[in-house]
Every structure is written in C-alpha cells, then in structure tokens.
Amino acid sequence: MEMINIENLNKIYKTGSVEVHALKNVNIEIKHGEFIAIMGHSGSGKSTLMNIIGCLDRPTSGKYFLEGVEIDKQSADELSLIRNKKIGFVFQSFNLIPRTNILRNVELPMIYAKVSAKQRREKALELLEKVGLQDRVNHLPNELSGGQKQRVAIARALANNPPIILADEPTGNLDTNSSEEIMKIFRKLNNEGNSIIVVTHEHEVAKYADRIIVFKDGSIIEDRMKEGVENYLA
C-alpha cells in the first residue's frame, strides 16, 4: 500500500468572483520511507498541496488517500485526529506555544492523543535528547535560538510516531549553519525510516532529499529521483 496516493487532485479558491486554480490535476504517489522535496516559486501551489497532504484543507475535486483512507468527507474533529496520529508538522516560523516550556510543547500532541502523563514525559525527554536539547527542557521558546526552536518543533512532530513528517520551509527563518544542522537531522530521521516531505524553494535544502517534485502554476513540471535511490527503495 502506498503511504500517499493523490489522483487528479484539483484545488480552486474562490475569493468573491475571482477563482484561483491553485492545483491542477495533480497525481502523486509517495511510499513509506521516502524523503521528498517539493519545490516551486511562491504561488506555484506547493503550499496548497502541503495543506491538503497535511489534512488541514480538503481538495475541490480528485482523490487523496492517506494510508488507504480517503481524506474527503471527514469532519473537522476527525481530521484533527488524523493530523494528530499521522502527521508531524514542522513550520517555517516554528509555531511553538509561547509562555510554555519546551517539554510541554513536545508533550502537546501526546496530550491530544491521550497518552498518560508519565509516558508523555518520558517520550518528550527522549525526543528532546534525540535533537540535542535535553539540557533545555524547562526553557521557554523565546529563550532559544532559531535553530534550537526548530529542533523542538521536530521533536514535537515526532511525538506520536506519525508516518509522515511534513516540513513547510523549515529553514526559511534560519541562517546557513542552522539550516544545515536541521536538514542533517531530517536526513538522519529519514535514515531511521521516517518519511519526510519538505516544501522549500532553496536548492541547498532540496539536495538533502531523495526525490524532488517541482511545481509551477499548480501543476507538477518535474518529478525525479536522485540517482541510485530508486533501487535503494525497491
């Protein structure tokens, strides 16, 4: 079974009388364990696709299967549950909860998944150690550097062991060194078996991925594997 299967997907935004065709007949298959970079200029439709894959938005037409489940008619709360279990988000602007220490931030998805307090804490500490922040657990987000914040966000994304990590311009607010650091973490996570989708417009970032999908005006104009990768996955 494919992890993600997108068939003839269209997304049309209506603002007043103006219609914006953000995605046009998109078809994508993504397997477990892939590391994909989705590229394109702003307005190319890559963020719209990201929102749909992340179950934050619904397609106008076409089909989207996530681990065999068609994401279409679910209620807002059902989508919340799917996001909680299946998707780990990493955002450009980190999106940590302010005035809440980073341990609590990492625990948050597990609270909604109703994991017991003890297990939550153990798991959160384990994940923070994995991203090298074990000595910062009681710090508040605004006491951390950009790179550190993004590492917290990655730890949070991993909290419920979701099949996909969805990163939307994860290095957009970071300097070169931190960007490299974050991408190395993604690389490492992918080597450990996590599926990762990164939306970016930077080639420096995209080079870490095994597969690159390029969008332009709502359509895929390029979808290629790095050399040797296909064999490795097969």
Partner: protein, 384 residues
C-alpha cells in the same frame, strides 16, 4: 494586570452580594437576640376591639387564680402587665424610675443578673411588701454606689407617697446595639411585686405570659383567649393575643426579603462583570489565534479548544469570586466591629457566590471559546 481588571467586576459584584446577605443574616441575629432578651416563649393578652367597655372585661385577681389553675401545666409564668412610673429623689439626686410589676418566679423565665440582695419572692407577693429591686444604674445615680440594699427610696404610687425598701440590685445585660435599637427612654429600671401598687379589686388591662416550651405558643394563646372570652361573656375577637414568636417570624421574613431584594440588585453588577469577562476572552482569543491554529494542526479537537478557553474564563471568574467573598466578609467584619454586633456569615452563601461566579464565567466565556474552537487551522496559522 489585565486579568485583575477583568476580575474586578466579579470581585465587586460578589463582595457586595456577600456583604449584603451577611448584613441581612447579622440583622436577623441581632433581632433574634432582641427577642430572646424579651423572651421567645412570651405572649401578651390584652383587652381590645370592644366598643363599650364593661368593668368585667378587665382581668381581676380572681381571674388570674382561675387561669393559673386552668392552664397550670402550660404556663411557666403569668402576671398582669403593669408598670408604675414616678420620679424618685434621694439626696437631691432625682431620676425617673420605671417600676415593672412582676410576680415571683420572674427570674425563672427571664435572665436577671443579681448583683446584691435578692429578687422579688412569694412572701413579697402575698404580703404586698413595699420593696423594690433596683437596676444598678438607678442605684448609682441616686446613691452614687451600687450596693444600696437596705436603704429606702420615696416614690409616688397610686397617688400616695410610699417608702420602698431596696432588697436587691441587678444589672441589665444588653449589647450597646440593642439599647440603641430600643431607644433611650430616660427611665431607669426596677422591679416591684405586682400586688403592692394596686387594690385587691383592681382590673388589669393586660396579662403577660411565658408559655411552657413543650407547648406551641400560639395554640396555647388561642386556648387562653377562648377561655377568657367565655369567662367574660365576650367573643375571642374582643381580646388580642400577641406572641413574640409571630412577630419574630414576621420581622425575619421582612429582613430576608429585603436582603434578597438588595442582593438581587447587587447581582446586576455580576452581569456587568460577566460582560467584562466575555470582552477580555474575545480579545484573548483574537490574540491567540495563531496558538489555536497550532494546537488544531497538532490534533486538538473542537472540544479541546472549547474546554481550554472555558476553563480559563471559569478560573478567572472563580478567582474573582473567591477574592470578592473575602473582600465582602472583610468589609462586613470591619463594619460590624464598629457597631459591635456579632457578624453572621453563612457558609452556604459563600459556596453559592463562588459557584455563581463560575457559572457567569462559563456563560460569558462560552461565546469566545466557541469562536476559538470553530476557527479554521489554516486561517489561524496564517494569522500574524
């Protein structure tokens, strides 16, 4: 700081409700004390509602004897309700003296604190002794000292000047507040035997009863009225029977009604406080749109967000309620200590006030919380 200002409305509302309710309760307490002083099982019977009086309508010593026998087990004490007022002068000190006519045994039904000497006894009643028991203030004003047992005072009784032997001194025990309520009447207090001032065939206008606690005061009263009416060949409407109990119930219900009414007006300020909470919660929801978006993206369901904000506003108002309760009680305590009355704070009203504050918080927090819960995660995440 902002939360404090938000809570202020609730604090003021709750503290005024709490203080008004406990002022009401304290007033009731004071009134109860007043009635206890007068005697809760006390009743008076007097002649009234008669167009043309006959001499037989009044109460005579023979009637007293018959009533005493007839209602022996139900009456603790019975005495004509009469008093004599006169000026008394000793060594150029003149006071106005109120001489309450009592039977022996008065000190069994009413608390009388004797300082010196003795109370009016059976012998005084039988022999119509010319004796008096003075209140300590009267003694002080006349003689300049308290212990004046054995001395005599000259006073006018039934148009005759009489010398009364002082056989006892007692002390009026009343809180200053009660004295204030009853008013200062210039007269000093004293007791004399009821048989002494009046001739044997004197017709008394009213009778004073203390009813045995085992019997309901009003029922015994009805019995007595009916009996008297039959005895006097009148109807029961011709006699007025008046119990402290009835009066007390009446006054209590007035005080309760009044304090409930005023508390209800004060509760309007709670409404204002609730609107304040709603206002601040709306601001808070807008400010935290992004936070809500993040939480929703991470898997928070509608009800998770709803509860988060409801709990927040309920906490805000509950804290306001608690602070308001403390403030209210504090205010009443300070007020009460100035006029030296005992303060009654009903624990039930505290629980009710805090619970009510929480309900207000939940009620006025619901709309903002619903608004937060319903927000679309994409819009919320995009919000800067």
């Amino acid at each position: 700081m902002r939360s404090l200002l938000t809570m202020l409305g609730i604090i003021i509302g709750i503290s005024s409700v709490i203080s008004i309710v406990s002022i009401g309760d304290s007033m009731k307490g004071v009134m109860d004390d007043l009635y206890k002083d007068f005697g809760e099982n006390r009743a008076v019977l007097y002649v009234g509602n008669i167009e043309e009086f006959r001499s037989t309508d009044f109460f005579y010593n023979d009637d007293l004897k018959i009533l005493k026998e007839r209602f022996n087990d139900k009456l603790l004490y019975m005495c004509p309700s009469e008093s004599v007022r006169s000026d008394v002068t000793v060594n150029r000190n003149t006071i106005k003296l109120n001489m309450e006519c009592i039977d022996s045994g008065y000190d069994n039904v009413q608390q009388v604190k004797m300082l010196y000497g003795r109370m009016i006894n059976n012998n005084d009643i039988d022999k119509k002794s010319k004796v008096v028991v003075l209140e300590q203030n009267a003694a002080m004003k006349l003689f300049g000292k308290e212990n004046v047992v054995g001395k005599t005072i000259r006073t006018k009784i039934d148009n005759n000047m009489e010398d009364l032997l002082i056989v006892g001194i007692y002390k009026n025990e009343q809180s200053p507040f009660l004295t204030l309520m009853q008013g200062q009447d210039m007269y000093e207090d004293s007791f004399i035997p009821y048989t002494m001032p009046f001739s044997a065939n004197y017709g008394y206008y009213g009778l004073d009863f203390f009813i045995n606690d085992n019997y309901p005061v009003s029922l015994v009263g009805d019995e007595i009225v009916n009996y008297i009416a039959k005895l006097k060949n009148r109807t029961s409407e011709n006699y007025i029977y008046y119990t402290v109990e009835e009066e007390q119930t009446q006054v209590n219900s007035i005080v309760t009604g009044l304090s409930v009414a005023v508390a209800a007006i004060a509760a309007i300020s709670l409404l204002v406080g609730g609107i304040g909470i709603m206002n601040i919660m709306l601001v808070s929801v807008t400010e935290r749109t992004r936070e809500i978006g993040i939480k929703k993206a991470l898997g928070a369901r509608t009800k998770d967000v709803l509860f988060q904000f409801l709990i927040e506003s309920a906490t805000l108002s509950a804290i306001g309620g608690i602070v308001g309760t403390i403030t209210g009680i504090g205010l009443v305590m300070i007020g009460g200590s100035f006029i030296s009355i005992p303060i009654v704070v009903n624990p039930g009203s505290i629980v009710l006030a805090v619970a009510f504050a929480m309900v207000i918080g939940i009620f006025f927090g619901y709309y903002p919380a619903k608004k937060a819960a319903k927000s679309d995660p994409i819009d919320a995440l995009r919000y800067e």
